[in-house]
Amino acid sequence: MACSQENQKHIYKYLDEEMTLLEKKQFEAHIMKCDECHAQLRELRKTVAIIQSASHFEAPKGFTDNVMKQLPKQSKSQTWKN
C-alpha cells in the first residue's frame, strides 16, 4: 500500500510517464525516504515487465484458407454495381 491515496495517484502518474519534470523530481525525492511507495512502485514495474514478457502467438496453419472458404459468395447485386 502506498503511504497515502495521493501518493498512490503519483505512483500511477509516474509509471505512465505523465509527470512534469518538477513533479517527477518531487516524487523521486519522496520515494527515496518512503519504503511503502518505493516497494509498490517496484512491484508494479515488475508486474508490467512480467506481462510484457508474454510470448506472441501466430494464427494456426490454414487460418486464412479456412475463413476464405466460409466467405459468402459474391452477391448478384454486387456484380451489378460494378
Binding site: 500511477y12 505512465d16 509498490q40 512491484e43 508494479l44 515488475k46 508486474t47 508490467v48 512480467i50 506481462i51 510484457q52 514478457s53 508474454a54 510470448s55 506472441h56 502467438f57 501466430e58 494464427a59 494456426p60 487460418f63 486464412t64 479456412n66 475463413v67 476464405m68 466460409q70 466467405l71 459468402p72 459474391q74 454486387q78 456484380t79 460494378n82
Partner: protein, 186 residues
C-alpha cells in the same frame, strides 16, 4: 503500410475476395493473439478470430476508410471475445478458468521428440503462469491490459477499440495492473 492497406481494402470493397486474403495475412496473427489472450483457449481463440474476419468481410462497407483499419478490426475481435466470456456460466467461473487454460499449447507446439533444456521448461512454465494470471482478471480489465501491455497500443487506440473514454481506459489499466501486482506478489 497504411497506403497498402487502403488499396487492399478498396479492392475488398469492390468485391475482390483475394484481396481479403491479403488483408487477413497482414492481421491474422494479431487478431488471433488478442483472442487467445482474452480467452486463454486455442480453440475458442481460433473461433473468435475467424468470426472476427468473417464479420469484417460482411461489414466492410461500414468501415470508414479514413480511420485506422486495425482499430476497427480489433474492436470486432475484442467484442466477440467479451461476448464469448459473458456467455460462460458465471457459477462455474473458477472451473472455467482452469478449463480455459488447460489446453495451453506451449508444450504441444513443440514437437515431442525434442528434449527441452531446463531453462526452456522454466520459460514455458512462466508463460503458462502469465496467462493464468491474465485469466484471473475480470474481462473488462483483461481487455485493457492486453491491448496496452501485449499489443502496445496507445490509450487513444484502446479507447476506440473498447468504445470507452480515455479516462475509463486508464482506470481499467490501473485497476488491472493493481490486481495483477497483488497476485504476483504472493
Amino acid at each position: 503500410m497504411d497506403i497498402i492497406v487502403k488499396k487492399i481494402i478498396a479492392e475488398v470493397k469492390k468485391g475482390n475476395q483475394q484481396a481479403f486474403a491479403e488483408l487477413m495475412d497482414l492481421y491474422k496473427d494479431k487478431v488471433y493473439h488478442i483472442a487467445y489472450r482474452m480467452l486463454g483457449n486455442v480453440h475458442e481463440a481460433q473461433d473468435v478470430a475467424q468470426e472476427a474476419f468473417l464479420r469484417a468481410y460482411t461489414n466492410i462497407d461500414s468501415y470508414d476508410i479514413n480511420r485506422k483499419f486495425s482499430t476497427w478490426l480489433f474492436r470486432i475481435a475484442t467484442n466477440l471475445a467479451i461476448d464469448r466470456i459473458r456467455k460462460k456460466k458465471p457459477d462455474f467461473h473458477l472451473e472455467d478458468q482452469v478449463a480455459g487454460t488447460e489446453d495451453l499449447t506451449y508444450y504441444s507446439q513443440i514437437s515431442a521428440d525434442v528434449d527441452l533444456p531446463e531453462d526452456q521448461v522454466v520459460q514455458l512454465e512462466m508463460q503458462e503462469w502469465i496467462q493464468q494470471e491474465i485469466m484471473e482478471l475480470p474481462p473488462k480489465y483483461r481487455a485493457a491490459i492486453i491491448l496496452k501491455y501485449l499489443e502496445d497500443l496507445s490509450l487513444k487506440e484502446i479507447s476506440e477499440i473498447l468504445n470507452l473514454p480515455v479516462a475509463t481506459v486508464k482506470t481499467r489499466i490501473h485497476r488491472g495492473r493493481e490486481a495483477l501486482r497483488k497476485r504476483l506478489r504472493d
